[in-house]
Symmetry: C2
Subunit: 429 residues, 2 copies
Amino acid sequence: MGVKLGILGLGTVGTGTVQLLQNVIGRHPLLQEIEIYRVGVRSLDKPRAVELSTEILTANLEAIVNDPAVDIVVEVMGGLEPARSLILQALKNGKHVVTANKAVIARFGAEIFTAANQAGVYVMLEAAVGGGIPVIQPLKQSLSVNQINAVTGIVNGTTNYILTRMQTEGSNFDDVLADAQRLGYAEADPTADVDGLDAADKIAILASLGFGGRIHLEDVYCEGIRQVSKTDIAYAEKLGFVIKLLAIAKRQSNKNSQLSVRVHPTLVSKTHPLASINGVYNAILVEGEPIGQVMFFGPGAGAGATASAVSSDILNLAATLQTSTANPNPLFTCGHDDYCEIAPIAELVTRFYTRFLTKDQPGVIGKLGTCFGNYGVSLESVVQTGFQEKLAEIVVVTHDVREGDFRQALAEIRDLPAIDSIPSLLRVL
Amino acid sequence: MGVKLGILGLGTVGTGTVQLLQNVIGRHPLLQEIEIYRVGVRSLDKPRAVELSTEILTANLEAIVNDPAVDIVVEVMGGLEPARSLILQALKNGKHVVTANKAVIARFGAEIFTAANQAGVYVMLEAAVGGGIPVIQPLKQSLSVNQINAVTGIVNGTTNYILTRMQTEGSNFDDVLADAQRLGYAEADPTADVDGLDAADKIAILASLGFGGRIHLEDVYCEGIRQVSKTDIAYAEKLGFVIKLLAIAKRQSNKNSQLSVRVHPTLVSKTHPLASINGVYNAILVEGEPIGQVMFFGPGAGAGATASAVSSDILNLAATLQTSTANPNPLFTCGHDDYCEIAPIAELVTRFYTRFLTKDQPGVIGKLGTCFGNYGVSLESVVQTGFQEKLAEIVVVTHDVREGDFRQALAEIRDLPAIDSIPSLLRVL
Ligand SMILES: NC(=O)c1ccc[n+]([C@@H]2O[C@H](COP(=O)([O-])OP(=O)(O)OC[C@H]3O[C@@H](n4cnc5c(N)ncnc54)[C@H](OP(=O)(O)O)[C@@H]3O)[C@@H](O)[C@H]2O)c1
Ligand SMILES: NC(=O)c1ccc[n+]([C@@H]2O[C@H](COP(=O)([O-])OP(=O)(O)OC[C@H]3O[C@@H](n4cnc5c(N)ncnc54)[C@H](OP(=O)(O)O)[C@@H]3O)[C@@H](O)[C@H]2O)c1
């Protein structure tokens, strides 16, 4: 056996990976050279879905990353600590690392890749974004000959599942969330998913790869889907849109050296390739010059899909270990030390969808129009959609506008006597 | 400058590639190490869209593949000969080869990869299938940890463009083809595209990568789209399908060791991910265990997209040349010498759509049912759709059936006195 793995964690992903590696028939023959040498867990007594001899299973994770026999450490335990420290220790010991941990990479990527470069080893993270979908490797190896203009993804399966069900059933967010939790599609504490934090980690990673610079996670603007209502889904539908939680990294149209990196619910035209990505599926659309648009679609989570991604990283490392590694392959290392310049959200130029509840006074649409006009906000459509109790409901869609200007107009509109409230504000792709 | 290219051909793809490599700002920094050293063409007098000094441009292609200074030969001239001989000569001289030539690879892949293995060099072919879409590299590197069950693609942009327009405009094949030729979406001689031959080359390549064995091109069953009528597109639409030219490589459901590899117009359910791939776009859907379904979508042709694929192969080779190449990377070489076992089309198990024109006799549907029943063909729906002149039109959709059995039933039905003709027969995905 050629290559010895030390796997940290035997939960959903770890178990899926062990199952794949224990059953290599019909897969790439090189997998036969890979040995599951140690697997670290918290509790040795827990029943496991895979058979592993007692010498393999251990609760001493430090011992795994310090064992000179281990060639590759596979971190599939999750969480920030001790995952971060164990990864750094493994790298310091000259071991390659495979990780599925977007949270650690999005926060400590700079530290981790610096350590890897110093040690002359690789950190692979295909499973960290898009589950089973090959997207990290294509971005690093195939698409990097392009000047990337935008990476736009549906990268969180839980929120896409919830929005898809709200769309098809006309249900409320709270009801669908409760049902998704019951069915195991959402966690008991759904914050990381529904507030967009998981998607923010992922778009930070994709942006870093696509645009060749590091990303401060706190520069990623983030809005979740809690405020998306079935009313807005229905109006969006009438206007030819579906609402998706998009993670977007894009060159600013007015200042090419700056990026906008953001996560928010977004109106997506029904004819757009991302509009038909439903349920727990993920998709990542990459736009570049000269390639145009390419999209990667597949299962964004789950034991099998994620095991495929983790195992493909292991396979690639095993293949590299077979060749001489006198010099590192520059497509496998992280070569950028600089941080990307991220524009504040006020500088974003985008279209908006807003819904107003107004007292039914004559001329209220005119007043809205005047306020928007004062700030250079040009409107694509203004529709009085009906009444809610005694209030008239007006839906406005703008042309492209600087977000800061739009917000100023909105602040002024909010103070108009005719305006009762502004229940929703969404961006349009 | 580190890596010297000898490019064979300066047409659509060659020009796009030179343009990309002459303008490397914002792309992977390693591209700066790549030198366009020689470019071979047929005619030195032709005006060119790119500037190349007179030492670089040459009509002596043999000299390029024999020049000891050349590290990588990029074959973007097309055709079978002299492309095949030049590739073999380059390999024999120890040069890596990048090619966009699906026709050569589908026919002479065995010979070419054997020569490459003997010389210890690589043959890269990302641009040969799916234009700019990264699909060859993901199949080789990321997805090969899976047991692949099926690769299904829309891999010919011309036919997808024609079918999309027939669908949206309700037009005839001949009219749309003529217009596509006028607009440059179809060639003056459209045979390779509309008869499915180009798609057959591509699915042979994808099958070989997905299933880890060589493919005899003559084993690929191939039907084009000339017989697809607007009538069938309209009926398919009513039944919830669109008609796509699919290229399919799939394990036989009744005999796992055999593959079916085929190209034919196919009814695809509107909810299937491939149903919404329209116009000149391509998409490749890969199904495997444990990953499930992943799909790759993007521009299937064009100078820019193809240049992206060709350049990504060049980049990968340049990166490999930077590391020591004492041993070849097993993910870059072709490791299989055996041929896949391909089942004859009669053994295929699939659903069928057939349209009959019948003399309006009582009991004709009963007679059809009896004939089908005699051969074990179970029907999902039988609909009398209307009349064409004095003939009644009946559309039948079957459940899964062995193609041989279905054909036998059909032969018997054709002889029934009540049957005027069977104008269409299509498979259902
Ligand atoms: N689940 C998915 O579909 C998916 C998809 C993409 C990426 N990921 C990422 O993959 C990683 C793992 O996810 P998962 O769903 O497999 O997690 P999980 O099911 O919760 O499993 C975690 C595993 O790590 C072990 N572990 C955790 N903390 C430990 C500690 N301090 N010491 C020793 N062992 C410890 C646990 O041991 P015990 O078994 O003894 O408790 C368990 O085996 C996460 O970073 C996640 O974000 C998951
Ligand atoms: N076009 C696409 O979108 C696309 C997409 C994917 C793959 N491909 C593949 O890429 C390859 C090239 O396609 P293309 O569209 O770029 O072809 P093209 O526009 O016809 O260009 C062919 C080039 O090769 C040169 N050439 C051909 N035969 C030659 C010979 N015997 N000696 C010297 N030079 C010769 C021609 O020289 P002159 O310029 O002097 O005539 C021309 O520069 C083909 O294998 C094709 O299947 C094309």
